[in-house]
């Protein structure tokens, strides 16, 4: 058996454990995954997928989530200002008390996404379960959505691409962003970043259904002191933060 196969096995094991909702660290429950939907069933507005990111558990040196995203989605660039970054680590330093934080920022999957409002062709759209996506079949590459996004979450593909992940088509002249790993969610898996953060044992990212009051994420959002980036714009993002 090749090395890859072995490590695959190992990972299947751990993923399966995560999916089954086992705890890998005391107090960190990983019961946060979507149920796999039958392939022929449409995403439903009963769900609203979201993330809760706890900056207390996230350290400045770690960017496992970023690496995982790039690897899973076969985004191979990230070397300059023209390269796509679907997720990035932002390091913060408070101007008042000098306290520093570190947290990942990606598409915030707003309930009222400005990118969807401004897109002339309707290529930017929100799926029933709250995931904001770009339909690259009808994206004309005007970049108006990038102008509109308050989070700088979107990237424009500046050069021809090859060797895409068959499940993650992407190409020159169109705009792209975090998809919340829609193809993984549809299979009942966690987004790659969340998965990696858990594998790492940090558990700083919690994925779940904000619409389901019994889900861990909904409970924590209801009871704990969570924030939204640019809450003043009232976009009601699906990604929430804690600890900043």
């Amino acid at each position: 058996m090749s090395d890859t196969d072995k490590s695959r096995r190992k990972f299947i094991g751990t993923s399966a454990a995560a999916v089954a909702g086992l705890s890998i660290a005391p107090g960190v429950s990983l019961l946060q995954t979507a149920q796999a939907r039958p392939a022929d069933q449409a995403a439903s507005s009963k769900n609203r997928w979201g993330l809760l990111i706890d900056s207390n558990k996230c350290s400045s040196g770690c960017d496992k989530c970023v690496t995982a995203c790039f690897t899973a989605n076969w985004v191979k660039e990230a070397h300059g200002p023209t390269d796509s970054q679907w997720i990035r680590k932002v390091d913060l330093k408070s101007l008042s008390n000098g306290k520093s934080h570190s947290l990942p920022v990606m598409c915030q999957h707003c309930e009222n996404p400005p990118c969807v409002d401004v897109c002339p062709t309707g290529a930017s759209f929100k799926r029933a379960d709250g995931i904001v996506l770009v339909d690259r079949h009808i994206c004309i590459g005007c970049r108006y959505c990038m102008m509109a996004c308050p989070y700088k979450a979107r990237s424009f593909v500046h050069h021809p691409l090859t060797d895409q992940n068959p499940e993650v088509p992407r190409g020159q002249g169109t705009v792209e962003a975090c998809t919340l790993c829609d193809y993984r969610i549809d299979r009942g898996e966690l987004p790659a970043c969340v998965d990696a953060c858990n594998q790492e044992g940090n558990g700083a990212m919690l994925f779940g259904d904000l619409n389901d009051p019994s889900s861990e994420i909904a409970k924590r959002v209801a009871t704990e002191n969570t924030t939204q980036i640019r809450a003043d714009l009232q976009l009601n993002p699906g990604v929430r933060y804690e600890g900043v």
Binding site: V105, P120, K152, F156, G173, I229
Partner: protein, 404 residues
């Protein structure tokens, strides 16, 4: 007014063909640039994931804004019944359409997928300001064409006024729409202002008129047709008023922006320490584009000189391009604040102001749009009767000419 005869420009001289040839070269260069951008991607431009709209948009928005302003001369004649401007109406409408065509071409060729531009018509998101603009632009072409028809076809003369009113109202909406492209971007602090749309209307008036004056002087100068002082001085004064109005809006806009605490950062960036953007604002937009032309236009002696009037118009255009650069690129160069009260740093340039250096390809694409505008105007004047044979004082306004 009866004596007014419109005639095509002869367009047989070597100079005419040299002009067309030169324009053709620029158009070719622009198309080549667009082809390269399509082939290699936007990597060959200076644009990036932070500054997503660059020099092509500066040119395109300038031309589009100027387009609606260029129609103004016709509107003043027809809608506001200022007879002295009426002989200029045809040229005004032609120029408006040519400018819009040039601007839209640039905008379209800059798309990431220019081959899919048809999708902008077949898939339509009614909530998008951009999509409204697609509609506004096609309407502008249609209404201006109808207006032009009523001006050129004697039998349609009766409808001239109503066509003129419709075109005038439409152009106001169009510029509001263009301004709103930016005005709706609430996330970007420089654009988050209700004043943006009216300010764009004021800009459009002065840029459009400046271009009109230049084209008029060139057309009459090069064809040797008489162009009287009477009309030119009227246009000069009008230009002065419009430039002053634009400046007024700029002042009010920045004052109100400074008033809002949340916008002070970006204001300080543009006005004080934004490097190239600050320089372009003060030197380009304010001094070269407003104060200097105003000084020339209202100077008792300089304002009599034709070359000075032409120079002032050129200054207004240069200032307009500087203004677009500051508005479009300066507005993006200033970083977005995600976490107020924190200093941000990331691999994606959070918390730092963004860099943009335009590339040759973009520059030629923009110039290509200008060349398309000029070429349409020149060819238009050759094939149809846009220009009166004479615009000397006698032809323009016999009474006033007799008095002076």
């Amino acid at each position: 007014m009866k004596s007014l005869v419109y005639r095509e420009i002869p367009g047989r001289s070597a100079g005419f063909y040299a002009l067309l040839g030169g324009l053709g070269l620029f158009i070719l260069a622009g198309l080549t640039a667009a082809y390269m951008m399509d082939k290699y991607g936007h990597i060959i431009t200076g644009m990036n994931d932070q500054v997503v709209w660059g020099l092509p948009h500066v040119f395109a928005v300038f031309l589009i804004v100027a387009a609606s302003g260029a129609l103004n001369v016709a509107s003043v004649g027809t809608v506001f019944s200022k007879t002295i401007y009426q002989p200029l109406g045809r040229l005004s409408a032609l120029l408006a359409m040519a400018l819009l065509a040039g601007g839209l071409t640039v905008l379209m060729l800059d798309l990431g997928r220019p081959d899919r531009v048809i999708i902008a018509m077949t898939h339509y998101n009614f909530r998008s300001v951009f999509a409204w603009n697609v509609f506004l632009y096609s309407g502008f072409f249609a209404f201006t064409a109808i207006y032009l028809w009523t001006m050129m076809e004697r039998r349609m003369g009766a409808y001239k006024k109503s066509a003129g009113v419709v075109a005038f109202v439409w152009r106001l909406i169009l510029t509001t729409g263009t301004g709103s492209i930016f005005g709706f971007l609430v996330a970007r602090e420089l654009y988050d202002s209700a004043l943006l749309a009216p300010m764009f209307i004021a800009f459009s008036f002065s840029y459009g008129l400046a271009i009109f004056v230049l084209v008029l002087m060139a057309a009459y100068g090069w064809t040797g047709r008489p162009l009287g002082d009477l009309i030119l001085q009227r246009l000069r004064k009008l230009l002065g008023v419009l430039v002053a109005a634009s400046l007024y809006f700029v002042i009010v806009y920045h004052l109100t922006n400074t008033y809002f605490a949340a916008h002070r950062g970006v204001e300080a960036f543009i006005l004080l320490h934004g490097g190239i953007y600050t320089a372009l604002f003060w030197v380009g937009q304010v001094f070269v584009g407003s104060l200097l032309p105003l000084a020339i236009i209202f100077h008792p002696r300089l304002s009599k000189s034709r070359s000075m009037i032409a120079f002032a118009s050129i200054l207004v255009i240069a200032g307009g391009l500087a203004q677009m650069y500051v508005t479009i690129i300066g507005g993006q160069a200033y970083h977005l604040v995600l976490f107020p009260g924190y200093q941000e740093a990331s691999s994606f340039f959070d918390g730092v102001n963004h860099h943009y250096t335009p590339s040759v390809a973009e520059f030629f694409l923009g110039l290509g749009g200008v060349a398309i505008t000029c070429a349409i105007t020149v060819v238009g004047m050759k094939v149809l009767r846009f220009l009166p044979e004479s615009l000397d004082d006698q032809a323009v306004d016999p009474h006033a000419a007799a008095k002076s």
